[in-house]
């Protein structure tokens, strides 16, 4: 490496350091607080729906499926009317992490891809955002299942 290249490398390094120093920072405390409040509110709503389901005859085990359906439905509706993206802008992970956020990722992709047709548009791109969640969720479930099975076998 000649001295010219070293000089350029150093110049670039200094620039990158300066760019990092001066970059506008995310308001971390505010973001954490809003994520906590909004995420908490969504989960409290979910708990409310869950409690309601118990009063109409579901058991804690059988209530899980209708609860997910209702929350995904709500997430999709609020995406469709253009509210969920604004919520996400404020709350970040607070609204992305609950199952309503999963619904938002699918519905938003569907709304956009619909203009390219139902099969190669909507059908092909429905899971562009949610895809990794499903892939690695299934993979993790599989691995945990093996551990669970192995532990059970050894225990016996």
């Amino acid at each position: 490496m000649d001295s010219q290249t070293r000089e350029t490398d150093e110049e670039h390094l200094n620039y990158r350091r300066r760019a990092r120093q001066t970059e506008p920072k995310r308001p971390l405390a505010r973001n954490l607080l809003v994520a906590f409040l909004v995420g908490g509110a969504i989960c409290a709503l979910g708990q409310g729906v869950f409690n309601f389901l118990l009063t109409v005859g579901y058991t804690p085990k059988t209530a899980a499926a209708p609860l997910s359906i209702i929350m995904v439905f709500l997430g999709s509706i609020f995406t469709g009317v253009g509210v969920y993206d604004r919520l996400g802008k404020l709350a970040g992970m607070g609204s992305a992490l609950p199952v309503t956020g999963f619904a938002n990722s699918i519905t938003s992709a569907a709304m956009e891809a619909r203009r390219e047709g139902f099969i190669l548009g909507l059908g092909a791109r429905l899971f562009t955002i949610a895809g990794p969640v499903i892939v690695f969720g299934a993979t993790t479930a599989f691995l945990v299942g093996i551990v669970f099975w192995a532990a059970g076998t050894l225990h016996r």
């Binding site: 110049e11 300066r18 404020l90 956009e112």
Partner: protein
Amino acid sequence: MSRVGEGTYKLARPVVLMGAGTVVGPKESLGPLGKSFDRVKATDLEGAATWEKAECAFLAEAVETALRKAALDTADLDVLVGGDLLNQLISFNFAARNLGIPAIGLSSACATYAEGIGLLAILIDGGKVGKGAVVTSSHHDTAERQYRYPTELGVQRSPASQWTVTGAGAMVLSGGEAGVRITDVTFGRVIDHGLKDPNNMGAAMAPAAVDTIRRHLRGTRTTLADYDLVVTGDLGRHGLQLAGELLEQDGYRPGAKLVDCGVRIFDGVPDVDCGGSGAACSAVVFGGDLYPRLATGKLQRILFAGTGSLHSPLTFQQGETIPGIAHAVTVEGA
């Protein structure tokens, strides 16, 4: 025309700007230049079936508006030079399909407008092209879908990010003597200082802007004192700050002379973080604000340097750094 520096050309005779056309969306009209634009759209879709079709229509409308103001017809133009941010330049090419003007598509991201002005000025100076127009467009929603996420996805924007301008800007150029004119052109080098964050394009482009400004000043043997303004394309607040610092490291004192179209267009508008970006950003600020001020003599001479971030979603995912480019022209007032 003579080559006076590395990538810098001095035109033998001035090339005159004959008329500008600017079309913007609703958000752009909220900024300080809101009243300076020719057409303000009430929605980003404006009756079109898709955002892509809307952007294409805005681009065509910008050309038609510029032609009307120059009192010319599409048949009077020898070439249409320009581009946009979308793959295969669909906005530019599909609009050119209907306009019927011989079309030269360019792709330098947000630097395309300045690149087009410089290139067309040189073609006209060469004497083979009589009149032509430059046009670029961008659209917040088409850009979001191509470069980032679905627009209805609830994501938190980085405070270093910029908001893509929805709109289109066109300019008619011709050989001539009187009027606002282009005198010098510098084509940019692709510069990469190794930044990787696609949410902070201003920082990635600032070194390219400084490289081009420096070469332009050296080639034309001018100093910052010879210009009323040095205008960058869309560095945004953070990029503009970094560009100012880099120029100062080189011994220049730009001070308040260094301004940025991206900062200006959304000054005071909420939710845009570091400011505007997009191929239309510098085009509508130049056509709607700078050009009228040059025409009325409020500005005598400016250095206009459009800046572009040359990454794609694919290069980002493959771990590539973000290269930038800037093309510059000297514009003199009437």
